[in-house]
Structures are given as C-alpha cells and as structure tokens.
C-alpha cells in the first residue's frame, strides 16, 4: 500500500494523510449513525426509547416492533401492518422498471445509431421531461387516470412511472450507445443485418453494465416515490412509502417509535439491498453517463 501511495500523482505527507483518514471516518460516522441508531432502536422495547438514551444498546432485545410493523400495526384504518403495501410496491416497481428500461434501450439505440432529422429535438423533449416538477402534471394525470378507470390502482401507478421514467432510461442508453463504435453497426448492416437484428445481436449483448445502471436507477426512483403514490393510490393500493408515512404520522394513540423504525427499515430494505449487491453500478453509471469527463 505504501508503494501505491508513492505512485499517487498528488503526494501527501504522513500527517496530512492521518488528517484525511480522520476526516473520512468522521464523515462515515455522520452517514452511518442515523441508520444505525434506527436499527438499534427498532429492537428495543418502547419504554427504553422514551425513557432512555437513543444510542444505548437495548437492555432487553425484542423483535416485536418488527412483527408489529410487518403484520399488525395500524395503517390508516386497518391493522394490517406494512406487508400488503410492501407487496403493492413490488407489484408496481417490477413491471415499471422493466418497461421503462426496455423502451429506454431501444430509444437510445435509435437516437444514436439511426439518427434522423429532428432526433435531437425529440431527445431534448425526452430529456427535459426528466426534470419537470411533477406538480405540473398532477391535476391532468388525476383526470386521465380517472378516465382510463385506473385511478387509485397499482396499474395507474405503473403507467405513471413508465411515462416519467422514460426520459432517464433513454438518457442512460443514449449516452452509452453514443460511445459504441458506429463501424460495428455499419459492418453489420453491410452484412445484411436489419434494425432489430443489430439491436439484439450487437447492441444488447454489450449493454450489461448500462442495463444494470438503468434498472437500479429506475427501481430506486420508483420504489422511493412518494408524490405519485400519495396522489394517485391512497388506501389499499398505496405503495410502501405512503403507508410508512401514514404509520409514522398517524396522530392517534401512543407513538411507537420502535415500530416506526422497523417500518422505515422495511421500506428502505429493497433499495438498500439492491445498492449493497450492485452499488458499484451507481458510480459506474455516473462515470459513464451523467458526467462528461
């Protein structure tokens, strides 16, 4: 490791390096503590939270808050726990991620390898749609979902997430395919390969990393969405984030902090799991896509 440090372009003295390590560790604590404390307090009896110290380990360990959050806690009017809403979020997120990613891939392919007049304008329109404040579409969307008879359902939310996820998925694939050598596409064309064959045989097989990046991004965004869920799917079709908020901010009864924390960790679970398994694709995606080197 000392060898590696000496090979570094920017040379730093030993004392500076100690300072850097200290600062990095302090920041690591800043990021870790809130979640860590939440975990500790989710396995404490409520009395230890209200009368004790938040960073003390539990005197008595219990998994009751987790069981309660999962299957018996009062969400709105029903004592169902978060389980049905967890299922809602899965049923919503998986198809929405798959559809928006598939459309993004083919869009990115077209916008880079089959450029036509107006393609840049179309891409610009798609790109801008990533950044609009969604407040601007809430009112008409509520009406259109009503007309389509999918207001307040998971299907409605899938449609919403596909539509507003298209911009980003197209952006990812467009930037990725822009770096893909045109010569390969041209060579395949000369060999007689058509539009779809080139996509299936040449583009897709080399798209593994960007597929991972796009799926992770879409899944995180869709799972974590609150605004659309709260606007279009309250009640029994609500996604996880909305029901967690209902659980935490319900004004009736005793505030069961330990149950809230268990619920919050359950809501964070899937995205956190994806992040732990495939987090490097986040950074790789940032390097490949959104930042120009």
């Amino acid at each position: 490791m000392t060898v590696a440090a000496q090979e570094n372009i920017v040379r730093t003295s030993q004392s500076v390096r100690v300072g850097i390590y200290l600062a990095l560790i302090v920041f690591a604590l800043f990021y870790l503590l809130p979640f860590g404390i939440m975990v500790i307090n989710s396995v404490k009896p409520l009395i230890e939270i209200t009368e004790g110290n938040m960073i003390a380990l539990p005197r008595e360990w219990t998994i009751d808050p987790w069981l309660s959050a999962w299957s018996t806690a009062q969400i709105g009017v029903e004592p169902t726990g978060l389980r049905p809403y967890f299922v809602n979020s899965i049923v919503m997120a998986l198809p929405a991620v798959a559809i928006s990613t598939a459309l993004g891939a083919i869009n990115g392919y077209i916008l880079t390898k089959w450029q036509f007049r107006g393609a840049t304008l179309i891409f610009g329109l798609l790109l801008f749609s990533c950044f609009i404040p969604f407040q601007i579409v809430l009112i008409p969307m509520a009406r259109v979902l009503g007309v389509l008879n999918i207001a307040g359902t998971t299907y409605g939310l899938i449609l919403v997430h596909v539509v507003y996820g298209l911009g980003f998925s197209t952006l990812f694939f467009r930037n990725f395919y822009a770096a893909f050598p045109n010569e390969l596409v041209r060579a395949a064309q000369i060999d007689g390969a058509g539009f779809f064959r080139i996509f299936w045989r040449i583009m897709l097989p080399s798209s593994g990393p960007i597929l991972a990046v796009c799926c992770i991004w879409q899944f995180t965004n869709i799972w974590n969405d609150f605004l659309f869920g709260a606007s279009f799917a309250s009640g029994s079709a609500a996604p996880m984030t909305v029901s967690l908020n209902n659980l935490v901010n319900s004004s009736t009864g005793v505030r069961e902090y330990n149950v809230h924390f268990a619920g919050a960790i359950l809501a964070a679970g899937p995205t956190l799991l994806v992040y732990i398994i495939a987090g490097r694709y986040f950074v790789r995606g940032l390097m490949a896509g959104s930042v120009k080197g």
Binding site: F128, F226, V291
Partner: protein, 301 residues
C-alpha cells in the same frame, strides 16, 4: 446510412429500414408529448381559469397569479425555497468535493468508505424523514441525549422553532444527497488525464496549486452537473418536508411543492394551485433549459 442497393426489392427494404426507427420511437414520443407536454399545456390553461375543486373552463386571465403573489403562505414558500436551495446546494457541493478529493488520495479502504457515503441516496426521503424527525425532536432525539449525558443547557430544537425549522430540513437533505455529489466529483477526478498532472508536477507545482489551477478547473462540468441536479431537486422537494414537518410548525416550512399540493387538492383552489405549479416549472426551466441546450449542442460537435 444510405447504401447503394440496386434491385427494387432491396430498395423497398431499405426504405422500410429507414422508417422502422421512427415507428419504434413513436410510442415513447407519443407518451411524452401527451403526458408531459400536453399535461403542461392543460395545467397552464387551468392556471388561467377559476377552477376550484374541479377543473373549470371559465377564463379569468391573470387573476390567479395576482392572487398567488398576495398569499402569505406562497411568500413564505418562496423565501424558504431560496434559503433551502442556497444552503442545500452549497453545503452538498462543499462536502461532496472534500470527500471526493480525500477519497482520491489512494485511500486504503476506499471500497468500504465510498458505499457508506453514498448509501443514503438509495433511501426514500420518507425513510430519511422518519429517522431525522426523531433525532431533531428535542424531547427524544439529540437534545435529550445530551441532557442525559449531563449537558443540561444543550438546546437543539430547530424543528419546533418557526424560524429555524427550515434549517433542520437542510440538515436531513444534505445527509441524503451529499454522497451523490461526492460520486459525481470522484468520477470527474478519475477522468482527469494523469499525464497532465505529471507534467505540472515536473514543473514544480505544489499540491495546492495542482488542485487550484489544474484539477478544479477540469471539474467544471461536474460542478455544473451538481448545481443543476441539486437545484432542480431543491425546487421539487416535497417528500422530505412532508415526512419531517408536514410543512409546519404552522406553515413555517412550506415550500412551493407543498403549497401547490395543499391548494390544489385540500383547499380546493385548483386555479391557484396550477398557477403555483407553472411558477415552479418556469423556475426549473430557467436552470435546466440552458444547461440541456448546451449539453446537446456540445455533444453534437
């Protein structure tokens, strides 16, 4: 993409091949035109009508906008947005840059540290809000902990204080997003050509000058991206406020996004709600349109 093909059969095939991309792109294009631009047009139209609980089509001109800017809560929301955006963007950028530069010094354990800095961005703002709401609550969170440790005079009750609550929201927002900015800067740093740095070092540049004169200027695109992304996130901020304070105490932490929601859907002032959404869109457009335009043109070159 044109090729010299002789027979008419191949000619037809080529023409079909030329149309195919447009046909395949059409559904996505249609969805975006309808659900994004059509909807924007509809909301824009509503903002000039006297819509209340339901959309109405009675034209009232600029009345909603005039009334909007007389509403005290909107005034508070705009002020809060300015405070929130400035602090959120600048603190995230500073922390992100420091972390990225430090991590770029061939740090042992970078593989452990980087994911730790970054993981909050995988969480929902509702989860972040649930955690921070409790820390910031003086009766049970950080203040209480210090009291139990014997520091009785310690006070940290921003979230309950009308004047300070918006700063409490900044803390939670920075916790969530600064790692993301770190990742952007780190990607930028890793993209810098080592040869350039070596040359500067042979010329005797100090570390400080190396950063100030060569490395930071090369990070300009990353700075710009960070600014644009954080800026638009700030304007869109909704979930975190709902989870942390619900816009309170009173309406002390109202932001344009919470204002729009409450006026459109709970106070039955859809016309005014639409007007506020249009203002939000215009603000974001002022940041995004020049940025995206420059991006697209640069990539064409």
């Amino acid at each position: 993409m044109s090729m010299n093909l002789t027979t008419t059969d191949q000619d037809l095939k080529t023409r079909l091949q030329n149309w195919l991309p447009k046909i395949v792109l059409a559904p996505s294009f249609g969805l975006v035109v309808f659900f994004v631009y059509g909807f924007i047009a509809f909301t824009l139209y509503l903002s000039f009508t006297n819509s209340r609980m339901l959309p109405s089509y009675e034209w009232v001109g600029w009345q909603n906008y005039e009334r909007l800017f007389q509403i005290r809560e909107w005034d508070i929301a705009l002020n809060n947005l300015v405070i929130f955006a400035i602090l959120y963007i600048s603190i995230c950028t500073v922390i992100g840059l420091i972390l990225a530069v430090f991590l770029d010094q061939k740090i042992r354990g970078e593989g452990v540290l980087r994911p730790i800095f970054l993981y909050p961005m995988a969480l929902s703002f509702i989860v972040t809000g649930t955690a921070w709401k409790w820390f910031l609550d003086p009766a049970i969170g950080i203040e209480n902990t210090f009291h139990l440790w014997g520091w009785q005079s310690f006070s940290f009750d921003w979230i309950k204080d009308r004047d300070m609550a918006i700063y409490a929201i900044v803390i939670a927002a920075v916790w969530q997003s600064s790692g993301f900015v770190m990742a952007m800067f780190l990607a930028g740093l890793r993209g810098i050509d080592d040869e350039l740095l070596k040359a500067a070092q042979i010329d005797g540049a100090s570390n400080f000058n190396l950063y100030r004169r060569i490395i930071l200027p090369q990070l300009r695109p990353a700075f710009l991206s960070a600014f644009v992304i954080l800026g638009h996130l700030a304007i869109k901020s909704y979930d975190l406020v709902i989870a942390l304070t619900g816009g309170g105490p009173g309406n002390a932490t109202a932001l344009p996004a919470t204002f729009m929601y409450s006026y459109s859907f709970t106070r039955n002032q859809m016309g005014i709600g639409s007007a506020s959404a249009v203002i939000m869109l215009l603000t974001i457009s002022a940041i995004m349109v020049p940025y995206l335009y420059a991006e697209l043109n640069e990539k064409k070159r």
